[in-house]
C-alpha cells in the first residue's frame, strides 16, 4: 500500500485539516465530533440539508457543503458510516428553525446511524426528516438483500434539494422533492482495479489482469459479477442498459447524464465513456439536457466509473442550474 498519509488512524482528521485550510471561506470544520459545516450556518429560516457517510468518497460529501447544496456533512472513518452524535451535532449546528433533511445512502450502517440521530434530533425539538437514496441497479431490491445501495444519484440529489432549500422551499417541499429525485435516478458502476483502505493495508479484492467487477459499489466491496474487460464500446452499454431497463424513459425522455470516475480513472477515459453514453442515449431518442463528468463520488484510488441517469422535469432543471458554491461544484456565483 502506497499512500500519501501519516497514520491510518488519523487520515480523516488530517485530511479535514487540509480541507479546512484550503476552503476557509466556505467551510467551518469541527473535529469532535467531526462535522464539515457551511461557513455561514445556521441560515435562518432555511431547511438544513445534511448528509454524510464513510470517508474515502471525496469530494462527497464535504466537498458539497456550501451555498446551494449541503449545510453540513458528517465524515465517518474511511468507508464507515458516521456516528449518530456527528449527525446530531450537524443538526444542532445548522438548524435555522425550518427543520433538517438528512440525505442517507442506503447501507445498513448509514441507515441505522442516521436513524438513531434522527431520534436524537427530534428529541431536541428539531423537525428532522430522513430520505434514503438507493439508486444502484446492480443490487436487486428484494427481501434477500439490504436493498439497493446509494451511489452516484446522491450527488445529484444533494445538488437539487440543496438548491430548493436555498430558495426557501420548506421541509415538506424539500422532502417531497428528494423522494421524487430518488424515484427518478438510477446508477451502475464498474471497477477495473480494487482500492486499499488505509488501515487494511491491502486491496479489498484482487482482479486479474483482464478482469473487471461489474456492478461495483463505492466501498471496495466486490460487484455483481466478474467479467473480462472489453472495449469502452462494450463497457458503457454494460452500465447503461441495466439502468435503462430499470427506468423506462421512452422517446422524448429528458435526462441528466452523470459520468463519474471512481477516483483512479483519468478524465480522458471519463470523457471518452461519456461520449459513448451520450451517443447511445441520443440513439434511443433520449434527450441529454444536462451533464456532469468527473470524479465526484469515489472509492479512494479505485479505477473505474459509474453512470447515473436522472429523469428530469422543468423544476429539476431549474434547480440543477441554480447557483452553487462549494469546494467541488461551483457555478452561478
Amino acid at each position: 500500500m502506497k499512500k500519501i498519509i501519516n497514520d491510518p488512524a488519523t487520515v480523516v482528521v488530517d485530511a479535514l485539516r487540509g480541507m479546512a485550510l484550503a476552503h476557509a471561506d466556505l467551510l467551518d470544520v469541527q473535529y469532535d465530533p467531526a462535522v464539515v459545516v457551511r461557513a455561514d450556518a445556521p441560515v435562518p429560516r432555511k431547511v438544513a440539508v445534511i448528509s454524510g457517510g464513510g470517508s474515502g468518497h471525496e469530494p462527497l460529501h464535504g466537498g458539497f457543503v456550501g451555498r446551494g447544496m449541503l449545510d453540513a456533512a458528517c465524515p465517518g472513518a474511511v468507508f464507515t458510516s458516521p456516528t449518530p452524535d456527528q449527525v446530531a451535532a450537524a443538526v444542532a449546528r445548522t438548524d435555522g428553525g425550518a427543520g433538517a433533511l438528512l440525505i442517507v445512502k442506503n447501507y445498513t450502517g448509514d441507515v441505522l446511524n442516521f436513524e438513531t440521530a434522527a431520534e436524537l434530533g427530534a428529541a431536541d425539538g428539531v423537525d428532522v426528516r430522513t430520505v434514503v437514496i438507493d439508486d444502484d441497479v446492480a443490487v436487486k431490491d428484494s427481501l434477500y438483500t439490504a436493498g439497493r445501495r446509494g451511489v452516484g444519484g446522491t450527488v445529484l440529489l444533494e445538488k437539487i434539494v440543496g438548491a430548493a432549500a436555498e430558495r426557501g422551499v420548506d421541509l415538506d417541499g424539500c422532502e417531497a422533492l428528494a423522494r421524487r429525485v430518488v424515484s427518478q435516478v438510477r446508477s451502475m458502476g464498474l471497477a477495473l482495479t480494487a482500492c486499499t483502505v488505509p488501515h487494511a493495508g491491502e486491496p479489498s479484492f484482487t482482479l486479474g489482469d483482464d478482469e473487471m467487477e461489474l456492478g461495483i459499489g463505492i466501498h471496495g466491496e466486490p460487484g455483481r459479477r466478474r467479467v473480462p474487460v472489453g472495449p469502452a464500446d462494450e463497457l458503457v452499454p454494460a452500465l447503461l442498459d441495466p439502468i435503462l431497463e430499470d427506468m423506462p424513459l421512452g422517446e422524448g425522455g429528458r435526462v441528466l447524464l452523470f459520468t463519474n470516475g471512481m477516483g483512479g480513472t483519468p478524465l480522458i477515459e471519463l470523457y471518452l465513456a461519456h461520449g459513448i453514453a451520450e451517443t447511445l442515449l441520443a440513439e434511443r431518442g433520449v434527450a441529454v439536457e444536462r451533464r456532469l463528468v468527473g470524479p465526484y463520488i469515489t472509492s479512494l484510488e479505485m479505477q473505474g466509473m459509474s453512470l447515473t441517469v436522472l429523469k428530469l422535469d422543468d423544476e429539476m432543471v431549474e434547480l440543477w442550474d441554480a447557483p452553487v458554491h462549494t469546494p467541488a461544484l461551483r457555478w452561478g456565483v
Binding site: P33, G76, T80, Y144, A146, V197, E221, P222
Partner: protein, 208 residues
C-alpha cells in the same frame, strides 16, 4: 465470583484486548464479503471504552453496560455501532440497577440484547449476521440459567455462539453489505457473528 460493576469493567477491558488482538482477522473476514473495516470499527469502539473506564467506572453493572452502549454508538459507526450499541443498551435496561449479576440476570440481559439487535437490524436467523451467533447463545444461556451461575451461563452462551458463528459459513447473506454479493457470500464466516462469539468467549473466560 461476584459480578459487580468493577468485575464487569474488568471483563470489558479483557474484551477490548481481545478485539484489538483480532482486529486484523475481523478486517480480513469483512474484506471477503464486506468492506474490510469490522475489526477497525470494533477496535476503535472498545479502545475508546477503555479510556472512558480509565476515567471512571460507573457504580452498577447496568451503569457500565450503558457506558458501553453510548461509547460504541458514538465511536464505532458502520452497522456494528448501532447494533452492538443497541444490544448493550437493552442489556443495561434489562439489568437495571442491581449491584451484582447472577446467571438469570445475565441470561435475561442476553435475551434483551438479541431482541434489540433484531429490532434495529431486522435480521432473521440464517441471514448470515451476528444474529446467527447470538440467537443460539441466548437459547443456551436461558436453559443453563435454570440453576446455573454467571460462569456457566456465559460459558454455554459462548459455546453456542461459536457454533452459531461457524454455521454462517455456508449461508448466503441477506442482510448487511454481504448481501450485495448474493451467492458469492457463501463460503465465508460472517465477521459480526465472529465478533459476537469472541465477546461472549471473553466474558465467559473472565467469569470463571
Amino acid at each position: 465470583m461476584e459480578c459487580t460493576a468493577e468485575s464487569v469493567a474488568e471483563a470489558l477491558r479483557a474484551v477490548a484486548a481481545v478485539v484489538v488482538e483480532h482486529r486484523d482477522e475481523l478486517n480480513r473476514l469483512d474484506r471477503a464479503i464486506g468492506d474490510g473495516d469490522h475489526g477497525e470499527n470494533m477496535a476503535r469502539g472498545f479502545t475508546a471504552l477503555v479510556s472512558k473506564l480509565d476515567d471512571h467506572v460507573p457504580s452498577s453493572p447496568g451503569g457500565v453496560l450503558k457506558l458501553v452502549a453510548t461509547t460504541l454508538i458514538s465511536t464505532v459507526g458502520g452497522a456494528a455501532g448501532p447494533l452492538y450499541g443497541t444490544a448493550f443498551l437493552r442489556a443495561a435496561t434489562s439489568v437495571g440497577d442491581v449491584a451484582s449479576l447472577d446467571g438469570a440476570v445475565v441470561a435475561a440481559a442476553l435475551r434483551a440484547a438479541l431482541d434489540g439487535v433484531v429490532a434495529r437490524g431486522k435480521a432473521e436467523l440464517g441471514d448470515k449476521t451476528m444474529v446467527d451467533a447470538l440467537t443460539p447463545a441466548v437459547a443456551m444461556a436461558e436453559s443453563v440459567a435454570v440453576g446455573g451461575g454467571v460462569a456457566e451461563v456465559l460459558s454455554a452462551a459462548a459455546d453456542a455462539a461459536e457454533l452459531g458463528a461457524d454455521s454462517t459459513v455456508p449461508l448466503v447473506a441477506r442482510k448487511g453489505r454481504a448481501s450485495y454479493l448474493g451467492e458469492r457470500s457463501a463460503g465465508h464466516l460472517d465477521p459480526g457473528a465472529r465478533s459476537t462469539s469472541l465477546l461472549l468467549r471473553t466474558f465467559a473466560g473472565r467469569a470463571r
